[in-house]
């Protein structure tokens, strides 16, 4: 074996990245459920022996993958043989929600473990009170679904039949879950083979060195950027209203000092007796997303990036819920809030001009009656609004950290989900004014055939329910626009006029917010 030079290492790093992108595409094409195929709620990663992510196809899952891998390794560090596959999906043990299942397997070369390969994805259901396992009224995790602590799903190349059968008995959609897990396994098997071939070509040492290099490189790049930011500290707090009763309180002290980012969420409020809690892993993932968003695309998203972050949470708070508190809604909602809160604070401290990296995300799950025993449909893919403006650009569409979801094709949805898409349009005067304005809000009108149930937790967004003459239930979703950046009065006049011409801004708003005289507009 020859020693590998830095160019060789960098080439291998890129190959890891290309590989996970390819594996991600495999999962996206093979999986059975819409949440994976269109909402792209999954990831595939290569990890080192300590749970460090070497490469991952979905930057949003960096923290989740790390948390899950550490939990699985803690449990099976001395019992991970070639052909083993660990299954886990337990919010309070390295996970986010019951239905977010993760698989991890050792990649072996000549009988010894070199790296790990893992994949995780959102399943359409894993039991509990409500179809879909998202239950705003839940107080305990058992009302949401069935937690799955680390379990061997395969042992030495053989499926563990009773575990697999039992898992599938706990979902209302066993065919979909089975198909999804097969898709994850297929990608993992393909990935393992590729890494084994790489090891055969380049030598195990080179592969291991490249895995270390990938993370070291990300860390180095990140620290270099951090060094340019200066030091400082800011405290931020958010106490959103969430229906009746006390809502979640998220309080963060974000500091940049001595080449690291510390985020202290210890002063956040106590966990709630509702599903609006986040697990420690969900929170860690959100903080990683925020830091990664502020660092920008130059820093590869992998375990090296996490080395910068010192995160503190207090057990029993809303951002570090204790077992068995419910978490099915907090994972989506609090995560988006933490990304926004921490990301914005960090961006301001850093003096970067990226705008708010995220916005609070509502939860809207519908189950059309006509769909019978189909899985409920998460309408998140339609929520392509909320991106804030930033220095040099207007907001457009969804905040970039959420932009992995594909905009669903209306025809495909109509065919699959018993939902007719009757209209999708931008809403006039819904974009936050600014020198760089936010993304306009979006109005989506859907008809649910034969009526249906809607489960929602809304934050800044609205839904309107009504009936149509012909029978279907009418559901109108109004997604909020993004925030503006900078003084609106300094916005380029021609840009304001263009927005007026496009119908995004009314004459009145142009005058009131941007100070553009009506007569000037008319001229």
């Amino acid at each position: 074996m020859t020693a590998i030079d830095s160019i060789g290492l960098e080439i291998l790093r890129r190959r890891f990245e290309a590989l996970v992108a390819e594996l991600g595409a495999v999962v996206g094409k093979l999986a059975r459920s819409t949440a994976i195929r269109e909402n792209r709620a999954y990831s595939v990663a290569i990890l080192d022996g300590h749970g460090g992510v070497v490469a991952i196809d979905n930057p949003l899952h960096l923290g989740l993958m790390t948390g899950g891998a550490r939990c699985a390794l803690d449990r099976f560090r001395y019992d991970m043989r070639e052909g083993d596959v660990v299954l886990l999906g337990d919010a309070h043990a390295g996970g986010s929600r019951c239905q977010d299942l993760m698989l991890m397997a050792p990649i072996s070369v000549d009988g010894s473990t070199v790296l790990q390969i893992a994949a995780r994805a959102e399943m359409p259901d894993l039991g509990g009170e409500l179809i879909g396992s998202v239950n705003p009224a839940a107080r305990e995790v058992w009302a949401e679904g069935v937690p799955v602590p680390p379990l061997k799903l395969w042992r030495e190349g053989h499926q563990v039949r009773d575990v697999q059968a039992s898992l599938l008995m706990n979902t209302r959609f066993p065919d979909q879950v089975e198909g999804n897990l097969e898709a994850l396994l297929a990608a993992m098997t393909l990935g393992s083979g590729r890494i084994q071939r790489l090891a055969a070509d380049q030598g195990v040492e080179a592969v291991l060195a490249a895995a270390a290099h990938s993370q070291d490189y990300a860390e180095r790049r990140a620290r270099a950027l951090l060094a340019g930011w200066g030091e400082g500290e800011a405290s931020v707090r958010r106490e959103p209203a969430a229906g009746e009763g006390a809502g979640p309180v998220v309080a963060a002290t974000v500091a940049i000092a001595a080449g690291s980012v510390s985020v202290d969420l210890g002063a956040s409020g106590p966990e709630l007796r509702s599903a609006l809690n986040a697990s420690a892993t969900s929170t860690a993932a959100a903080v990683a997303t925020a830091v990664s968003a502020v660092l920008g695309p130059e820093v590869p998203v992998n375990g090296g990036l996490l080395r910068l972050i010192e995160l503190r949470t207090a057990a029993g708070t809303v951002v570090d819920a204790s077992f068995p508190s419910a978490v099915s809604c907090g994972h989506v909602y609090l995560s988006s809030l933490i990304v926004e809160l921490v990301g914005t604070a960090l961006a301001e401290l850093a003096g970067t001009s990226g705008g708010a990296p995220a916005c609070e995300r509502s939860i809207v799950v519908v189950r059309p009656e006509a769909a019978g025993e189909q899985a409920p449909v998460d309408l998140a893919p339609f929520a392509i609004a909320g991106c804030s403006g930033a220095e040099g650009r207007d907001g457009w569409g969804a905040p970039h950290v959420f932009s992995r979801s594909l905009m669903p094709s209306a025809e495909e949805w109509e065919g699959q989900a018993e939902i007719a898409v009757r209209g999708i349009e931008l809403v006039r005067d819904s974009a936050g004014p600014g020198r760089w304005r936010g993304a306009p809000g979006l109005a989506v009108e859907l008809h649910l055939r034969g009526g249906g149930e809607v489960t929602s937790l809304l934050f800044g967004d609205r839904i309107e329910l009504g009936d149509t003459d012909s029978g279907p239930r009418r559901l109108r979703l109004l997604f909020k626009g993004g925030a503006g950046y900078g003084d609106p009065r300094q916005r380029d006049r021609e840009a304001v006029r263009a927005d007026v011409r496009d119908g995004l801004v009314s004459s009145a708003e142009a005058k009131a917010a941007y100070g553009l005289a009506v007569e000037e507009e008319a001229a």
Binding site: R75, P149, D162, M169, N170
Partner: protein, 608 residues
């Protein structure tokens, strides 16, 4: 050919093995539901490469042990080709070998000569099994809302503990420490069973033991066939009504037609209600358990094992309340509609074996209370059997007495004192209720009234289910139906309310009193034929009032001397006999009292 003496010795040995298995289990388990209430049972099963047979049972709530037969069958089916000495299998799913999710069955194959020939087994009702609601979800509409499911799953494989599987199971339980300990106790019981079975085989040799097992099964089958042959051929039908499915439907019929033909009986449940949206759906393992329970009560002289069941052919129409299709919710089925299944089979048997019938079921009075025990700061979940101890009925030659009918008598009534130590509750009173015993020539057991109050409990929530108020357990051969179960919250207080079907709420105020009335079992035979001296004794014991003696039994007593007035009694009995011979239905005094107390309207006569 084995001689009958040796075979009987083996049979009794195996019965003793089953008894030792369950003794080991109940004495080492930690949950009061096992070590106090014995809501569990043990069995020894055999397997001959073709079929699984129950060969001995102990402490056997029939609902458990007859259903465990399905659990052993499901284990063998699932692990066909993948079974080894040292495996320990756990079964729970109603659609895969179980009855309802909280009944966990441990199945342990005992390999002899390289084949799994025996299976000691313990089934127990776990206080919790995950799911949205502690102790069971009253409002479940599908099986996933009832908790954690699993296929037959190995807790040990070839003697090696499967730690990850244990972690998964206890993770889905609100009482993980109890569950772990109780499972260990069940496994421990089975290990003792294995040891004893091996000792038996060492002593007699496996061939002799297997021959004895065949003899045991064939002997019970032969005796059962003889018994059936003695019954007149014909069709005997009966209907029971289930008060509520807890999901909006009322008075759901459970029908059975027993067809006696030669030495076989077909039990056809056609005409039973369609399966319900709620939790009152039975599955075959559970329905068969109650069918067999009734037959075992009809034939107490025959040793109960799979041979006994062979001449009984069940017909369970799919999609009905006795054989629901997956994924129907089934949480309540071990009593609701289980009790009605047992009761209706017994009622139908009245037509061919009147001298052998009597209440063999219990009807539901199920209170769950949970919250935080302020004395310890820990969560508690109290599923109590203390308030529901009477369902024993009259039979020819004996009054109903004590707690549950003989078929359920392995379950114990927990002690009040222990319950108060274990749970944050106080029992204010417990008493037999005057005039509540179903009248008959042989009366049912008297009803039992308990008044309970939470004590030093916080965040408490209770879920109470009642059946058998609108349509109580049947009386037989002219005996009266039971008087009916009911619950009253804040009895006599300003906020008094009657629970006639179910309630699910927080208590307010938190120390509110709750009265539970458990209405006893059915009577047997015409009450006007009851020995007046027995009526007099019941009056002296305060079980029957002077009014009740006259109203129900036509017995007139001198209120001062407490002696029977024979002439007045004869006249009164004549008068009542004529009155009751007409179309006008009459109600026993106890039943009348219950209807007045609860203000309910029972359904009109059963349509057959």
């Amino acid at each position: 050919m084995i001689d009958s003496v040796t075979a009987e010795i083996v049979r009794n040995y195996l019965e003793t093995v089953a008894a030792e298995v369950i003794q080991t289990m109940t004495r080492t388990s930690v949950s009061p539901i096992f070590n106090e209430a014995h809501d569990c049972s043990a069995g020894v099963f055999s397997y001959d490469d073709r079929e699984v047979s129950l060969i001995a049972r102990a402490d056997a709530a029939p609902v458990h042990i007859y259903a465990a037969l399905s659990s052993v069958e499901a284990s063998l089916e699932f692990f066909r080709g993948n079974l080894a000495q040292g495996d320990v299998i756990l079964v729970c799913d109603p659609y895969d070998g179980g009855s309802h999710l909280p009944d966990y069955t441990v199945v342990m194959p005992v390999f002899i000569d390289g084949k799994p020939q025996f299976f000691p087994s313990v089934r127990g009702h776990m206080p919790d099994n995950g799911g949205p609601v502690p102790g069971g979800n009253l409002k479940a509409r599908d099986i996933w809302q009832e908790g954690f499911r699993f296929s037959p799953i190995k807790l040990y494989e070839r003697g090696e503990l499967r730690e990850d599987v244990w972690e998964w199971i206890v993770r889905n339980n609100r009482l993980p420490e109890n569950l772990r300990a109780d499972l260990e106790a069940m496994i421990g019981g089975c290990r003792v069973g294995e040891q004893r079975i091996r000792e038996l085989c060492d002593r007699y040799g496996i061939e002799v033991v297997l021959e004895a097992v065949r003899w045991i099964l064939d002997s019970s089958e032969r005796r059962m066939r003889e018994r059936i042959s003695a019954w007149p051929d014909g069709e005997y039908a009966a209907t029971s009504l289930l008060d509520t499915d807890f999901a909006g439907r009322r008075d759901l019929p459970i029908k059975v037609t027993l067809r006696v033909e030669g030495d076989e009986v077909t039990a056809d449940f056609a005409g039973s209600a369609e399966q319900t949206d709620g939790i009152a759906n039975s599955v075959p393992a559970n329905t068969l358990a109650f069918l067999y329970t009734a037959f075992s009560a009809l034939c107490p002289e025959i040793p109960i094992n799979s041979g006994f069941f062979r001449p009984v052919r069940p017909v369970l129409p799919p999609g009905t309340i006795v054989n629901a299709n997956e994924p129907a919710a089934v949480r309540a089925n071990t009593v609701t509609p289980g009790a009605d299944i047992g009761d209706v089979v017994m009622k139908a048997a009245e037509g061919f074996a009147p001298e052998r019938v009597g209440t063999c079921s219990i009807d539901l009075l199920g209170p769950w209370l949970w919250g935080k025990d302020e004395r310890s700061g820990r969560s508690f979940l109290h599923y109590e059997l203390l308030c529901t101890p009477t369902a024993s009925g009259g039979v020819e030659g004996a009054d109903g007495w004590g707690a549950w009918p003989a078929t359920f008598s392995s379950a114990d009534v927990p002690s009040v004192e222990m319950s108060e130590v274990q749970y944050p509750v106080l029992y204010k009173s417990g008493q037999l209720v005057t005039d509540s015993a179903a009248p008959g020539r042989w009366r049912g057991s008297a009803g039992w009234e308990t008044v309970r109050q939470p004590h030093r409990a916080a965040d408490q929530h209770h879920s109470i289910r009642v059946q058998g108020l609108y349509s109580p357990l049947h009386g037989f051969c002219g005996g009266c139906d039971a008087t009916g179960n009911y619950v009253v919250i804040d009895p006599g207080g300003e906020r008094e309310r009657v629970v006639s079907t179910w309630t699910d709420s927080a208590l307010s105020p938190p120390d509110e009193l709750i009265l539970f009335n458990s209405g006893g079992g059915g009577g047997w035979g015409n009450p006007l034929e009851r020995d007046p001296e027995l009526v007099r004794r019941d009056v002296l014991d305060d079980l029957v009032s002077l009014d009740g003696a006259r109203w129900d039994y036509g017995v007139v007593l001198d209120p001062e001397l407490m002696t029977v007035d024979p002439e007045a009694t004869a006249a009164e009995r004549r008068r009542l006999g004529e009155q009751r011979a007409g179309d006008r239905p009459w109600l026993s005094l106890g039943r009348k009292n219950v209807l007045e107390r609860t203000g309910i309207e029972p359904p009109s006569e059963t349509e057959d």
